[in-house]
Symmetry: C2
Subunit: 121 residues, 2 copies
DNA sequence: TCAACATATGTTCATCTGTTCATATATTAA
DNA sequence: TTAATATATGAACAGATGAACATATGTTGA
């Protein structure tokens, strides 16, 4: 064991604990993917879009109306959601209907919503 | 019904759908809280800290060692996690041990991790 | 073909965020 | 008290991000 492994000035203090944690932690790439996914959810506009299409497919125009937002703003956010594969879309003439890619997203969000709703403390 | 309720140039097109969605959607304040929570998870440094203390309490010094980060950086991020009530801490002499506030956080993250791990597509 | 409409995209700008450096606070031991 | 150590915090800076505007693309019907 090298000097770098010593922590808090003590000998072998939390060394074992640290090694244990290292073993169980997802690798760097996965953590970044995870953070990126949460980043998508971290904007209230995107979240409102996601919540809107959670059970219904909606066209861009509907989303603009519903969320009282610029068409440009909505399209830009939809682009981000498309890139991150969280939504799918279907073209029907001039219109494009968006819906959630799968049920995972809904689960993650409703779990988080529960936490919020309990968390008065 | 007013003109503003017309969407996509059609008469009463997705009007009912929109109203339905409006009914079911969480209110603005809740959405913002939700977004704020996801914002906390959206940084890989914070995520690594959270993952590290998911089953073990660790002191700041351990976290620096484990994550190979500045003590200042770690403290700043811990401050954010404290403010958002996602972690709790315990002082023991000079050291401060951090751990997760409750199991919700773990559930949300592991759910998201599952999504990531499946999502090769 | 052209006009009208729905959507997408490039660019700019103001704002936010994470990291670092320097320094402050707090605790322990001598 | 002073020195050493663990942690917290303030300021500054680089990079990221969301919104808006202008414009491009694609589709339909005349």
């Amino acid at each position: 064991m090298k000097m770098e492994d010593f922590v808090c000035g003590e000998k072998y203090p939390h060394y074992k604990v640290i090694k244990d944690v290292e073993m169980k932690t997802p690798d760097e790439e996965e953590i970044i993917d995870l953070a990126d996914m949460f980043k998508i959810f971290s904007d209230s506009t995107r979240l409102r879009i996601i919540l809107a299409i959670i059970n219904t497919e909606l066209c861009v125009c509907d989303l603009c109306e519903l969320l009282k937002l610029n068409q440009s703003t909505v399209s830009h956010q939809l682009q981000i959601l498309r890139t991150s594969k969280l939504v799918k879309y279907r073209k029907e003439g001039k219109q494009v209907f968006y819906s959630l890619q799968d049920g995972h997203v809904e689960q993650i969000i409703s779990q988080a919503l529960e936490h919020i709703q309990e968390g008065g403390r």
